[in-house]
């Protein structure tokens, strides 16, 4: 029985710098290959948010620094994508709750999927593969006082019938995971393990 491999998809939106974290896909794919037996495509893809091509990918990664304004078409397609069971993982590359990306993308998410609400740190996302007792792992960027100089205790989410449809992070995993996977050997603790939880959650819920 042949299984379609998981393909990590980065959402390309019309406004802003959607490609600000070019190494994240490779790093996430590396983590999936390293820790799981999930068939995975060795290279990520970039999919326009306004295209129905996104329906073929269970998880979409969206990041950036600049203001995000979805076009009507993007909003329409994304709304349908979430309704059909897709999961959107949004990460604020500014790690700044007062940043332009954070403010605008929250507005857009509310327009498309509803208001974001804090996700309890006891949510099953944090036990989908690895166990994160204290919720989302902190990043070196927030520990070092970048952006808003806050350590964000939890992620936000929009739930569709108890399923996470939109996962929103202000912890800046875009910076934390944006390095060449070959350099992972220099880390004492792999900081991309949480990405495995996100992918496994998106594939199984």
């Amino acid at each position: 029985m042949s299984r379609e491999p998981f393909v990590f998809a980065t959402a390309q939106y019309d406004s802003g710098d959607w490609d600000s974290a070019p190494m994240v896909p490779a790093n996430v794919i590396d983590a999936i290959a390293r820790y799981t037996s999930i068939p995975v495509r060795p290279q990520g893809v970039t999919v326009p948010l306004a295209s129905e091509v996104i329906f073929g990918y269970p998880l979409l990664f969206l990041t950036g620094h600049l203001p995000v304004r979805f076009t009507d078409k993007e909003a329409e397609v994304l709304r349908e994508y979430l309704r059909r069971g897709g999961m959107l993982f949004v990460d604020d590359h500014n790690h700044d709750v007062d940043g332009a990306f954070n403010k605008t993308v929250r507005e857009e998410i509310r327009r498309v999927a509803g208001a974001l609400a804090p996700l309890p740190n006891s949510h099953e996302l944090y036990r989908a593969y690895f166990v994160f007792e204290n919720g989302p792992p902190t990043t070196s960027h927030e520990m070092n006082g970048w952006g808003d100089n806050l350590v964000h205790e939890q992620l936000d989410a929009v739930l569709f019938e108890s399923r996470i449809a939109v996962l929103f992070s202000t912890k800046d995993y875009s910076s934390e995971w944006s390095y060449h996977p070959d350099n992972k050997r220099f880390l004492s603790v792999d900081n991309t393990k949480f990405a495995v939880n996100i992918v496994v959650y998106a594939l199984t819920r």
Partner: protein, 764 residues
């Protein structure tokens, strides 16, 4: 309490003193007094039990009635909750419980009464003994007719009791106080429970009649007392009048719809249904939704909570001087108001619609742009439409600056305009780029925002699509005017300039051998191909410059049709950019010129080449064709798009990551490695070679031995010293054989003691 007939005269403190009596009289009186005390107290305690049972019965009946009344209001049509049921069940339950409770009066026996008295006033159980030894019949005991003990013994017990308690008057007073306390304790809780239940019951009965002075209105209007609408005497519900009052912010007029069955109304409006006669009962239900609520008969309110804003659907039925009135607050969903009276039911369908948010379209600027420098003023224009009326409109700018990990953003609103109910407006503004103080790399996200007059706190604003204006960084000036576009359709019939050049060169080579007419024919064919290619180049130039598809078309001077290129004698030229040689000069480094200069140059060179080919001057055409080819090459290089750097593409080796490569675990066949010769063997071979050489070339042999000696000094000093003798012999020119043999033995680890044979001792 009834005073007991026996006892002494009251003392100063009001408590009877000890009786003053003679011995015989006191003996006879003490017995009677004790018996009477027990009997009267027993009756008193039994009355407490009966009263408590009655209170519990009444309280239970009231509480049950409250529950049944609430249930009847919740399910008004239920036959199980009819009025007789609601009345009879609580009464029956109250009586039954009171009877059960009253049976506890039988537990109040004379003996228990005496025990209770001695508990209050201890007397050594003399009273208990007195009561215990009476005859068993209760009435006999009460009358004191039956005696089982000897009368004298009874009298002694009674006297002992009275002496112990200080006389009959004192014990009577103490028992009276204790009995009052007991009554309060036993009756307080049931009484409180009963009071609460009765209050609830009264409230439930009276509340429907109290709002809006219904009782008074009813009296004045002669409203029939039956408000349930179920009486056969009440007329069925008939015609009504419907009035729609839109919310004030909408500025819509009030509507009188008469005897309507359907209403199309804005959410938040009040739909008021007015009717005559007795009040009605009914329900409110949102169609397509399980939410519903019931209007109680003759008044009350019902609300359906939709969790929406504006408000939930809500209706209230009230009685007026002329009849009844049922206002309904419209929800943004279809709602059904069902009203009944006299066995008839009517429906009013309310089609509630939402107040749509304003529609905003940004007209200017038309598209996203990249600016070389942020100076000047930019016209802004947006059209706004709202179904009811606008309150305000403005342009919202988010200016983001920075790169890498450092970004800042600020939000600015300009051209804010207030409206008073206009539905279609054109919002205009001017963006002064100088005042924005934009720097290279800054991005302005621009959109128009409008809000209508809906006062809801969470009301959304209408927004347009967003345009972005970016200020280019100096490093990307070569790409600022390039708009990515798919390549144009390639005309397959066109010969490339390189091919035309090659054909012309071949024709030039064949020219001496060709007849003139053949030469002319082939040269003109090349000229036609050259002309077609030139037109294609011209199209490219004009598409980039002006968007027009053809380079050669008719127009007149001053017709306002300016595409930046002039036709001069068949060639194209940019005003002011033509050199004296007819070639375009380099130097203007604007992006457009930088790209199109080579194409214009190629175009003009092609024109020259084509003219020469028309004249069968192939030799004269070739230089122009080479110029055209070189210009096209330059244009192609200039047209390359140098956009932002692409991120490195990482393709992972999943097998390597998963440690699942192609290695099968089996190694290659290994071959034996040649053993390395021991150093002594090598030295022995070199020593033997030197020995062989010594016969023919003694100096060479001496040099070899000398080198071998030096090399051996470090690890084989014995061998090195043995070689010294060899060298001296060779230098002297004598026979060195003996010295060689000795050196070889030393090298082989052979040693000989004095006057002993050689023996091997190990490596040197």
């Amino acid at each position: 309490m009834t005073r007991l007939p026996l006892g002494g005269a009251p003392g100063a403190d009001g408590v009877p003193n000890a009786p003053v009596h003679t011995r015989d009289a006191s003996v006879r009186g003490a017995d009677s007094a004790a018996v009477a005390l027990v009997a009267q107290l027993r009756q008193r305690l039994r009355r407490v039990v009966y009263v408590r049972a009655a209170i519990i019965g009444v309280a239970t009946a009231c509480a049950l009635a409250v529950v049944l009344l609430l249930a009847a209001r919740q399910w008004p049509g239920s036959s199980a909750l009819s009025r007789p049921v609601v009345l009879l069940i609580p009464i029956a339950a109250g009586i039954a419980l009171a009877l059960v409770q009253s049976r506890r009066a039988g537990l109040v026996t004379p003996l228990r009464t005496a025990l209770w008295i001695e508990e209050q006033t201890p007397a050594g159980f003399s009273l208990v003994t007195l009561v215990e030894n009476t005859e068993s019949a209760e009435h006999d005991f009460a009358t004191g007719d039956a005696r089982r003990l000897d009368p004298r013994a009874r009298e002694r017990l009674a006297v002992a009791f009275l002496d112990a308690v200080g006389g009959s008057a004192r014990v009577e007073a103490q028992v009276d106080v204790a009995a009052r306390a007991l009554s309060r304790d036993r009756l307080r809780d049931p009484a409180a429970f009963g009071a609460i239940a009765m209050a609830l019951l009264t409230w439930l009965i009276l509340v429907p009649l109290t709002p809006a002075g219904i009782a008074g209105d009813s009296t004045r209007s002669g409203m029939p007392p039956d408000h349930t609408g179920t009486s056969a005497a009440v007329a069925p519900i008939g015609a009504w009048t419907v009035r729609v009052e839109p919310p004030a912010y909408s500025r819509l007029p009030m509507q009188q719809l008469g005897n309507a069955d359907e209403v199309h109304a804005l959410a938040g409006s009040r739909v008021i249904v007015l009717g005559a006669g007795a009040p009605v009962a009914g329900s409110v239900r949102v169609l397509g939704d399980a939410s519903s609520a019931v209007l109680s008969a003759g008044g009350g309110a019902a609300a359906v909570d939709l969790g929406l804003s504006p408000p939930t659907s809500r209706a209230v039925v009230s009685v007026t001087a002329d009849g009844w009135r049922a206002p309904l607050t419209v929800a943004p969903l279809p709602t059904e108001l069902r009203l009944s009276r006299g066995g008839a039911t009517r429906l009013l369908l309310v089609d509630g619609y939402r107040d749509s948010i304003p529609r905003v379209a940004l007209r200017l600027p038309e598209r996203d742009s990249v600016l070389r420098s942020a100076t000047g003023r930019l016209a802004l224009q947006a059209t706004i439409h709202d179904d009811l009326g606008l309150a305000s409109g403005s342009f919202e700018l988010i200016v983001s600056s920075g790169e890498g990990e450092r970004f800042t953003a600020r939000t600015v609103r300009i051209a804010t305009t207030r409206y008073t109910g206009a539905r279609d407006v054109m919002l205009r503004g001017v963006l002064d780029l100088d005042s924005m103080q934009l720097g290279p790399g800054d991005i302005v996200h621009l959109r128009a925002v409008a809000r209508d007059a809906n006062p809801a706190r969470d009301r959304e604003s209408g927004v347009s699509e967003t345009r972005s204006l970016r200020v280019a960084r100096p490093a990307e000036y070569d790409s600022v005017a390039v708009e990515p576009a798919p390549p144009p359709e390639v005309d397959k019939s066109l010969l490339s300039q390189r091919m035309l050049l090659m054909l012309t060169e071949k024709l030039e080579q064949r020219r001496p051998r060709l007849a003139r007419d053949v030469l002319q024919s082939e040269s003109r064919n090349l000229a036609r191909d050259q002309a077609r290619l030139r037109l294609a180049v011209g199209d490219a130039v004009f598409q980039r410059l002006s968007g027009e598809s053809s380079a050669e078309h008719a127009h007149t001077v001053g017709d306002g049709h300016d595409h930046g290129v002039e036709s001069v004698g068949g060639k194209l030229a940019m005003p002011g950019g033509v050199s004296a040689t007819g070639m375009l000069e380099e130097g203007d480094d604007s992006p457009v010129i930088g790209i199109n200069t080579p194409l214009l140059e190629a175009y003009n060179a092609m024109w020259d080449a084509g003219r020469a080919l028309e004249l069968s001057d192939t030799k004269g055409a070739i230089p122009h064709m080479r110029v055209a080819l070189a210009a096209i090459e330059r244009a192609r290089a200039a047209s390359r798009l140098y956009l932002r750097g692409m991120p490195p593409v990482v393709i992972l080796d999943l097998d390597k990551i998963r440690l699942a490569g192609k290695d099968t675990g089996a190694t290659n066949v290994r071959s034996m490695r040649a053993a390395v010769l021991p150093r002594s063997k090598v030295r022995e071979a070199r020593l033997l070679a030197a020995a062989s050489m010594a016969r023919t070339d003694a100096p060479a042999a001496r040099d070899s031995v000398a080198v071998l000696r030096v090399e051996s000094l470090g690890d084989a000093p014995g061998f090195a010293s043995a070689l010294v003798e060899v060298i001296e012999r060779l230098r002297a020119g004598g026979d060195a054989t003996e010295a060689f043999v000795r050196a070889r033995r030393v090298l082989g680890g052979m040693s000989r003691a004095n006057d002993a044979a050689w023996s091997r001792v190990g490596p040197p």
